[in-house]
Symmetry: C2
Subunit: 139 residues, 2 copies
DNA sequence: ATAAAATCTCTAGTTACTAGAGGTTCAAGA
DNA sequence: TCTTGAACCTCTAGTAACTAGAGATTTTAT
């Protein structure tokens, strides 16, 4: 297949044009060659790399994680082990986040339930937020 | 109680000194008076406001949410209703986040399980991330 | 009085992009 | 072949919510 423009790469991947340029700027995506008029022309290797980046981002990896993951690909030694490590660490962080959010959810639900079910008309989310004692011990 | 310095306010709340100045800069925290030597001196109202801000942040409200919540306090009309609305919207977002993270968690666990349990030695997180078909349909 | 700790302002860096200005190139139709 | 409009180019600055550091001044305690 013929080489393609940045707009085409954008359509193929769903990644916005400025974001593609950004990834190139920070060294995540290899610089493609340019036409005589200075426009970028991509090949399938760029498409693959970009998809790798996007999928990793969807899974919540940071650009630094991704940079590291990509470096591993080019240095065979211990490659799988290190990649697993990064993924495992990431999984751990996600589990922590989920736990934290579940706590928040409860606190917010309780606040709201109290407001809707309550009888006093000075019931208020604001009061709940101002009342430090409500969260004491949890944080 | 006597008025206190920014360092003392920091200790009372656990909020870092530069963050307190930052909140003042962006207009979230009222400017305190200054000593002749230009140092800030705070009073209990500042302590209360800062605690309100910090607790709201812990619950994941953005600084803009908090700004809005604080504006409500000074405009009685529909105050409770609006605050509930903000909190409810926030609760909704948190529920979405939890759902999304749970999906990620599964995908990552499966990736890792396949790597650890697998027999081939080219098993790799990187391969899983490169393989776009794995996530097709979910995203 | 002196010295250390705390404070001051200001700028710039972080993450992962997005938006806009102002100018150039490409591709398709007449 | 010419023209025109879409797509492209670079560069700067803005977003959220802070954090870090430089270099100067003030406060506090001995």
């Amino acid at each position: 297949m013929a080489d393609f423009s940045i707009g085409t790469l954008s359509k193929k991947t769903g990644c916005k044009v400025p974001t593609i340029r950004y990834y190139e700027n920070i060294g995540l995506l290899q610089e493609p060659y340019r036409t005589e008029g200075n426009q970028r022309r991509y090949q399938s290797k760029h498409l693959n790399t970009l998809r790798f980046i996007l999928h990793s981002r969807e899974l919540g990896f940071t650009l630094d994680d991704i940079r590291e993951l990509m470096a591993l690909e080019n240095s065979d030694a211990g490659k799988d082990h290190k990649a697993d490590e990064i993924a495992a660490k990431h999984l751990n962080e996600i589990e922590h986040k989920i736990t934290g959010l579940a706590v928040l959810k409860n606190e917010l639900s309780m606040m709201l339930k109290a407001c809707i079910g309550g009888e006093s008309n000075n019931c208020s989310v604001i009061d709940a937020l101002s009342d430090h004692s409500l969260c004491k011990g949890k944080h």
